[in-house]
């Protein structure tokens, strides 16, 4: 038994190390892909200059090559990393909170709340005081408002439980989508309608370092915090009653988790719109291999999600020549068949049987 434990632990640690290496590789490699014709040597010269300020590479300190590599591709890869990590972790957490393997980070109506915010911003110009990225800011506010409303409603008339959360999320979702459709309908503004549609398809494009500086630390911190909560997350799957008998009152931690994941998803929405399926499918896939234990599930999901989104974005950049595909579409196109495969291959459940 002891031996077994040691083997299990070392397999997990090895997996963690391999994925971490793969993540670093993915970030570096993804920067070499794009429509602009830039050689690998040039790409890494820019890196070397920006990171180590080596004099020899000074010619790469500015100019189009520098701008493409350092101001477009690299922040994009980092955003893919942050958002992929955040959504996957929040997906795993939401699935635990509502004890439902079909949950995704948007289950509390966050995506429709965000869409409503974005629609109001695009169509009515709400929130334009927030400056250039006001659509994202308003979407963030919409996301946070809805998720708090859902948590609040689910707590009315007694403690929140999984079913109440899901139902409240659905109710708020439909209200929000109805309202955004109404706004769009009233506006009769084709340009705006198109923009809203594009926004809801998600995109990692047009990312700035200033955004990465906010989003990356939030996603990293959130991931570490949730990782540290593996015991409570495991307990959640056993249910509130069993958890009490095992010494954990889930009520309070659940609210804290909901708020933390809302913040994480809110920021993901702010930077990248709503990218579906990642948060649903990555935890599922990881669970098949690692099992349900959140001690392994959280960090592995974070890494796999980050790697997945980085490469999904690369695919979006290179599939169409001289053009880009919305990442939301691409992820759904790959995600849905994968999901069906996982569903059919296993007797339906929480995955991870050995």
């Amino acid at each position: 038994m002891k031996k077994r434990k040691i083997i299990q632990t070392s397999v997990f640690l090895t997996a963690l190390a391999v994925l971490l290496g793969l993540l670093v590789f993915s970030v570096l490699a993804s920067v070499a892909f794009g429509n602009a014709d830039i050689s690998i040597r040039e790409v890494y010269s820019v890196f070397l200059y920006e990171i180590f300020h080596i004099k020899r590479f000074e010619e790469f300190a500015s100019g189009p090559v520098h701008d493409v590599v350092w101001l477009i591709r690299f922040p994009r890869a980092m955003l893919g990393l942050s958002v992929g990590m955040g959504l996957s972790v929040c997906g795993a957490v939401m699935q635990a909170i509502v004890k439902n393997p079909l949950a995704d980070p948007y289950i509390l109506g966050i995506s429709s709340g965000a869409s409503l915010g974005a629609t109001m911003a695009i169509v009515l110009g709400v929130g334009s005081v927030f400056g250039g990225h006001f659509v994202g800011v308003t979407a963030f506010i919409g996301a946070m408002t809805t998720s708090f409303a859902v948590v609040f409603i689910a707590n009315m008339g007694g403690r929140a439980n999984a079913a109440k959360l899901i139902l409240a999320g659905m109710a708020i979702s439909s209200v929000c989508s109805a309202m955004s459709n109404f706004v769009l309908y009233l506006a009769h503004n084709k340009g705006a309608t198109e923009e809203v549609v594009q926004w809801t398809m998600g995109s990692l494009a047009n990312t700035k370092w200033s955004e990465i500086q906010v989003v990356l630390p939030i996603m990293l911190a959130g991931t570490v915090i949730f990782w540290s909560q593996f015991r409570s997350l495991n307990m959640m799957l056993l249910g509130d009653e069993t958890a009490i008998t095992l010494g954990t009152d889930l009520h309070r931690v659940r609210t804290v988790y909901l708020i933390l994941s809302s913040v994480m998803v809110g920021f993901a929405v702010y930077c990248a719109g709503t990218i579906g399926f990642v948060g649903l499918i990555v935890p599922h896939a990881v669970r098949m291999i690692s099992g349900t234990d959140h001690k392994k599930l959280i960090p592995l999901s974070a890494l796999v999600g980050a790697i997945f989104l980085i490469w999904a974005d690369v695919a979006c950049r290179v599939i169409l020549e001289n053009s880009e595909m919305p990442i939301g579409i691409f992820v759904s196109v790959i995600g849905a068949p994968c999901f069906i495969y996982l569903m059919v291959r296993r007797s339906y459940g929480f995955g991870g049987a050995r």
Binding site: M1, K2, R4, K5, K99, N100, P101, S228, Q229, R231, N234, M235, L237, L238, G239, D240, E241, T242, I244, T245, L246, G247, T248, D249, R287, G291, T292, D293, K295, G349, F350, G351, G352, A353, R354
Partner: protein
């Protein structure tokens, strides 16, 4: 003799769902290392009483004491170190390995960020050994049969290393072999046990003290031989019985229809 750590006491417990009073002032005492059985017809309030004892229900009135301390004054972590539970329903919509399930029994003993150490694994292993499930350690919990799952849940309760154990009809859905096997394990643990039991013969052969419930009240308590009389069973269950003893002096209740 003063109060011991493994005493469970429920005093004047009242619970209502809406206008229906489920428990109408129930008092129960479980002294140390005794096997206390609760019997009674369906809907008599057995499970509700047990839920008050294991803290998933707050009684409207009355209080539960473990080792003389009121439950409400304890943190859940503290009560989980004193009292472990094997409840009726253990169907989970997920896949944990047997070992992971049992290790969860260690959580009341763990600080927030503490990992399971070698000692925890050893405790889990011994718990599984006690219930005879050691070989299943790496299996997925959900692939086990009902009886095996119930034994794993018992192992999880054992891993909590508590002086008290609450069982809510633990042998429901188990065949005779597994019913007897599980109760024998519990009986030999040397801890205070409070258990709701459906089968009167099983109750008679394993329990030291029986509490009989009907309509949210305790109708009587005492040693099985004192409580389980033909007359009393008729008042409680409204059935005719004949009570015999076998060659080894063991009680048997025969139901006459």
């Amino acid at each position: 003799m003063g109060t011991q750590i493994n005493d469970i006491e429920a005093k004047e417990i009242r619970v209502s769902y809406g206008i229906h009073e489920i428990l109408k002032g129930v008092t129960l005492e479980a002294e140390q290392k005794k096997f206390i059985g609760i019997i009674g017809p369906n809907g008599s309030g057995k499970t509700t009483l047990l839920k008050c004892i294991y803290r998933t229900l707050d009684p409207a009135q009355g209080a539960v004491y473990i080792g003389g301390e009121p439950l409400t004054s304890m943190k859940p972590r503290e009560s989980a170190k004193r009292l472990a539970v094997v409840a009726q329903h253990n169907y989970y919509n997920f896949e944990f390995s047997v070992q992971e399930v049992v290790l969860m029994g260690r959580s009341p003993h763990k600080k927030a960020l503490e990992r399971d150490n070698a000692q925890d694994y050893e405790i889990a292993r011994r718990a599984l050994q006690t219930v005879g499930m050691e070989a299943f350690s790496g299996r997925s919990f959900s692939t086990l049969s009902g009886g095996e799952q119930q034994r794993v849940i018992l192992a999880r309760a054992l891993a909590q290393q508590t002086p008290c154990l609450v069982l809510d009809e633990p042998t429901n859905h188990l065949d005779v072999t597994h019913q007897l096997q599980l109760l024998k394990i519990v009986k030999n643990l040397g801890v205070t046990v409070v258990s709701a039991i459906h089968d009167l013969n099983i109750a008679a052969s394993f329990c030291d003290i029986l509490y009989v419930m009907k309509d949210g009240r305790i109708e009587g308590h005492g040693a099985p031989a004192e409580v389980l009389t033909t007359d009393f069973i008729r008042t409680i269950y409204n059935v005719e019985t004949e009570i015999t003893r076998d060659s080894r002096g063991k009680m048997h209740i025969l139901f006459l229809s």
